[in-house]
Amino acid sequence: MSQAAELLQEKFPEEVVEVTEFRGETTIVVKPGRIVDICKALRDDNRTSYRYLSMIAGLDYLPQSPRFGVAYNLYSHKNKNRVTLKTLLTDDASPAIDSVVPVWSTANWHEREAYDMMGIRFRGHPDLRRILMPNDWVGHPQRKDYPLRGK
């Protein structure tokens, strides 16, 4: 098992939902509630030291429920390995999760993009507004129920 999975099993046993290995990559599915604590632990613990956030991807699994998810890809320069952290958001009507900007500054634009494209709210984000679409745009274009050629 990867160091990240071990660490989370040890420190947040109730939060870890599933650990999967696919094509040499580790994906850890966690509950959304304590995402900031989990990210901080992964960043600061010497065994993992994921000090670099590669990307945040908003996910829309329509017609499944829970519908929305967020994936975080982390990299450790020390161990030269990666881990994907994934969480499914409980509220399908207005999905929200705590912002990880306090953990990595780079999360700022990633979260703005996920908000703009998927309509996922990041609680505590310092500046959550649209980033790619115009400010007065209605709807979130990358949702699965948003038509390809616009509304």
Binding site: S54, H77, S105, T106
Partner: protein, 393 residues
């Protein structure tokens, strides 16, 4: 009566130094920048969304159009992600050719950066020299595929075709002459007093800050982060190549300039090694022999029912990878270019997330610009080496 108020200034959206369509809203106190807010999205084409409605094969032209100055490198990353998802190993010859084209593209991209960055800061001449060599690389791209900017030469599982005969001698000629041409650029800028004044101690980022802001590639290495995906997480046989990863010390614009300059020479070394390695591989061995991605030989299509069905399925339906999620990244000229593919087993990606290096590098604009002078903002945009098509996707 004395009035004190700050001024808002629009830099862009169409300004020659914004390298595309970028608008930066600057709050100024005199010439001092108090706040810089990049406004992006002018080139947003919704590539991630479009891909969800296309077969994997039809996604590929769009990948070329992400960072259009290094078109083939983006496609490289996408193909590698797909091959990881499918569990395919590409023949050595195809791997070497991919490495060679990726490194040539890196040189072309860095040359474009050098020319425009210099030009933005008032050094007119480097542009002409840089474009002279870039043109040769464009010619090489044209040779393999017929197109200069968007070769679309890589395929999932290998390459579209083997190299044409004339390519190898032309590539050798470029590789041999490049180090000398590279000296020209050095002699124009490296010890140029104006250049040093404009770039030294401008846009300083410490290693810790660079990590926090998710910087990768030459941007991170300029701050002294010893990290290169080609060396640390090798793909496509990069572990067989010998190259040095140049590092900066101060994390300023000048150090990033030196890092990219040296990277061009190192890329040239890799191309040279790839050309040597190519000579030992069997010609024509450029596609994985896997019926999920490669069309069967014509003989099998005409004479064998299984071959015919295979051909029909691949053309009509497309490539169908297994259910799963992968993230694959490569060392693109501008940093870490990543592709996160969520597959539901259908011929279209369920979700494709592209991690463009320009997008991340630009997000630190406010941090770099605060407290600097207005003129420095031009140096900062140049040093970030952004391509707006990659920022907006």
């Amino acid at each position: 009566m004395k009035r004190t108020e700050t001024m808002l200034l629009n830099l862009g959206p169409s300004h020659p130094s914004t390298h595309g369509v970028l608008r930066v809203l600057l709050e100024l106190d005199g010439e001092l920048i108090l706040r810089a807010d990049p406004d992006i999205g002018y080139l947003h084409r919704g590539i991630e969304k479009m891909c969800e409605y296309r077969t994997y094969h039809r996604c590929m032209p769009l990948m070329n159009r992400l960072d259009y100055l290094a078109g083939e490198v983006n496609l490289f990353g996408f193909c590698l992600a797909m091959e990881k998802l499918l569990g395919i190993e590409v023949p050595k010859r195809a791997q070497y050719i991919r490495v060679m084209l990726a490194e040539l593209t890196r040189i072309a991209s860095h040359l474009f950066w050098l020319g425009t960055h210099g030009h933005d800061l008032g050094a007119m001449t480097p542009l002409f020299y840089a474009f002279r060599e870039r043109e040769k690389i464009m010619d090489l791209c044209e040779m393999v595929s017929g197109a200069r900017m968007f070769p679309l030469y890589f395929r999932i599982g290998g390459l579209a075709a083997d190299l044409p005969e004339a390519f190898i001698p032309a590539a050798w000629e470029f590789v041999k002459s490049f180090p000398e041409k590279h000296q020209d650029y050095h002699s124009l800028l490296t010890k140029n007093e104006i250049w040093i004044e404009r770039t030294k101690d401008v846009g300083v980022m410490t290693a810790d800050e660079a990590l926090d802001w998710g910087w990768s590639g030459p941007m991170a290495r300029g701050s002294g982060i010893n990290w290169d995906l080609r060396r640390d997480n090798p793909y496509s046989s990069y572990e067989e190549f010998d190259f040095v990863v140049p590092l900066g010390k101060n994390g300023d614009t000048y150090d990033r300039y030196l890092v990219r300059m040296e990277e061009m020479l190192q890329a040239n070394r890799i191309v040279r090694q790839a050309l040597e390695k190519l000579a030992d591989t069997p010609p024509g061995d450029i596609k994985a022999k896997d019926s999920r991605v490669s069309l069967p030989p014509k003989d099998a299509v005409y004479n064998d029912i299984a071959g015919l069905i295979n051909h029909f399925k691949l053309i009509q339906e497309g490539i169908t990878p297994p259910v799963g999620e992968v993230y694959q990244c490569i060392e693109a000229p501008k940093g870490e270019m990543g592709f996160y593919i969520v597959s539901d087993g259908s011929p279209q990606p369920f979700r494709l997330k592209i991690r463009g290096p320009s997008f991340i590098n630009l997000s630190a604009m406010d941090k770099l610009a605060r407290g600097r002078l207005l003129a420095d903002s031009i140096a900062l945009i140049g040093t970030m080496d952004i391509v707006l098509a990659d920022v907006d996707r």
